[in-house]
């Protein structure tokens, strides 16, 4: 089992509903976020193009945060989801420094926090909060090891990319372009 998220940048309108849904679902403290929307403009006038994408922890298959964690608080669970055990975390910041996506932050209570792919919902067979609320239905979640899953089909059909592939982390959040 390998959970992955596929996000269609052509359908995303940048409404930030995913951000609010995550903050509500996971009780993210005010002033912090586990996911965010990036607006990237490229090219030269008049040939400019804009890409909107909702970003979060990439739940990398080769996760540098898990490798550098001195206590094992950062770990990988079933389906390749990267989690942090709060009462094993010493707040050293090594994982924050090791993440090329800057997906982690220090929770006001001291431990390091980040996106969990809503593991508590996924375990029950539900979708992550951000995916479930997306009004343009541009986000998909599923198992990449299952050839017939929606995410596998999308990646077979559509042109896609991952963020900072040169960092070698093998991310599991894909963007359709």
């Amino acid at each position: 089992m390998r959970y992955a998220m596929v996000i269609d940048t052509l359908k995303c309108v940048g409404c930030s509903d995913c951000v609010v849904a995550c903050q509500t679902e996971n009780d993210v403290p005010i002033g912090y976020c586990r996911d965010w929307v990036v607006e990237a403009v490229a090219g030269k006038y008049p040939l400019v193009e804009i890409e909107l994408r909702s970003e979060r922890c990439n739940h990398c298959s080769n996760a540098p945060c898990v490798r550098c964690c001195p206590t094992g608080a950062s770990h990988i669970v079933e389906g390749g989801i990267v989690l942090v055990t709060a009462n094993e975390c010493i707040g050293c910041g090594a994982c924050i420094e090791s993440c090329p996506y800057d997906a982690r932050y220090t929770h006001p209570e001291g431990y390091v926090d980040k996106c969990t792919f809503c593991y508590h919902r996924v375990k029950k067979g539900e979708l992550p909060a951000c995916v479930s609320v997306c009004p343009t239905k541009c986000m998909y979640f599923g198992d990449l090891d299952d050839e017939s899953s929606e995410v596998s089909e999308l990646l077979k059909k559509r042109k896609h990319k991952v963020l900072a592939p040169e960092a070698g982390t093998k991310p599991n959040v894909y963007y359709l372009i």
Binding site: A42, P70, G91, G93, T106, Y111
Partner: protein, 313 residues
């Protein structure tokens, strides 16, 4: 790496704009850890070589600095942990892939040995010292015969401690300025060099002072070569590293790098040490103090500049 014309970040005050989460305690600790490693390495080396009478400063006096440096460094480190009550979690596991886990365990072994080493030499440094309590004298005479054994243990431990201060940073490939293999050897050499500088300050004879002057000179030369290799490595590396090195070569840290580290911290003290070895009247403390300041500046520069470099946005 900015390939886009314009890109919005997250605009969340507590996460962005900069993930500058390692503040002054980290470089201070890296400096003090390297310094303690350097001092204890030389003390152990000359003990193992059986040259105790020739370098009393390095074996008896300088190691008094080591436990103080380690303790101050550890307090600084604790200060930077945000979930500090759980620090004991470091010692419930051994994570071979994590440099920080290596560091925690090496310090666990080094700290008591550094205290013992200072303790068994304390009465030789301060002859008037009276412990008052009988059991302290007994403890002292119990540990004294194990000095050689401690020296043998300290040799590898101090090397690991010194090199780990650099590998701690170089293991993060998300920060391109840190992510180069030379950083470990560079910090080790710099740590040994600052250790030799303390030995110059505590030298008890001109023979000892000159010996550590020569050692320091050699280490400074090696350090300069490492720095040149490091810069060449960035330029021949991927785009993110070429961008990262701009911070040192023309960017905001250039003046600090060339003035405080390259010139004042390495080249100038090397020239002074050459003059001193040639017999000119140079106050030997000046190059030693410059080396110490330069060593601290190198840690502060690398930790601060490295955190700015990143892959996205």
């Amino acid at each position: 790496m900015k390939e886009e014309l314009f890109i919005s970040g997250r605009n969340i005050p507590n996460v962005d704009p900069h993930l500058h989460i390692w503040h002054w305690p980290i470089p201070l600790y890296l400096f003090l850890g390297g310094l303690a490693a350097g001092i204890l390495f030389f003390a152990a080396l000359f003990t193992v070589l059986g040259k105790e009478d020739k370098v009393p400063g390095a074996i008896k006096y300088a190691p008094l600095v080591a436990p103080i440096a380690i303790v101050v460094g550890l307090v600084a480190l604790m200060f930077d942990l945000t979930h500090v009550l759980y620090f004991w979690r470091l010692y419930t596991t051994i994570r071979l892939e994590s440099p920080m886990s290596w560091g925690a365990w090496v310090l666990m072994a080094m700290t008591p040995i550094s205290f013992l080493w200072a303790f068994i030499h304390l009465r030789e440094v301060f002859p008037k010292l009276d412990w008052k309590l009988k059991w302290i004298y007994e403890l002292e005479s119990f540990f004294k015969p194990y000095k050689k054994l401690m020296a043998w243990a300290l040799l590898p431990l101090s090397i690991v401690l010194g090199i780990y201060t650099g590998i701690l940073l170089s293991a993060f490939n998300a920060r391109p300025l840190w992510n180069n293999a030379i950083l470990g050897p560079l910090f080790l050499t710099s740590g040994l060099s600052t250790g030799a500088a303390i030995n110059i300050l505590t030298a008890k004879s001109s023979y000892e002072r000159h010996l550590f002057g020569k050692i320091d000179l050699l280490l400074i030369t090696v350090e300069l070569f490492f720095i040149i290799h490091m810069i060449m490595g960035y330029y021949s590396g991927p785009a993110v590293q070429r961008e990262a090195v701009q911070l040192l070569m023309g960017g905001e840290f250039t003046v600090f790098f060339f003035v405080f580290i390259i010139s004042m911290g390495l080249i100038f003290p090397a020239i002074l040490e050459i003059f001193e070895l040639m017999g000119a009247k140079v106050w030997a403390a000046i190059p030693a103090i410059l080396v110490l300041i330069g060593g601290a500046c190198l840690r502060f520069l690398m930790v601060d500049a490295g955190q700015i470099t990143r892959y996205l946005y």
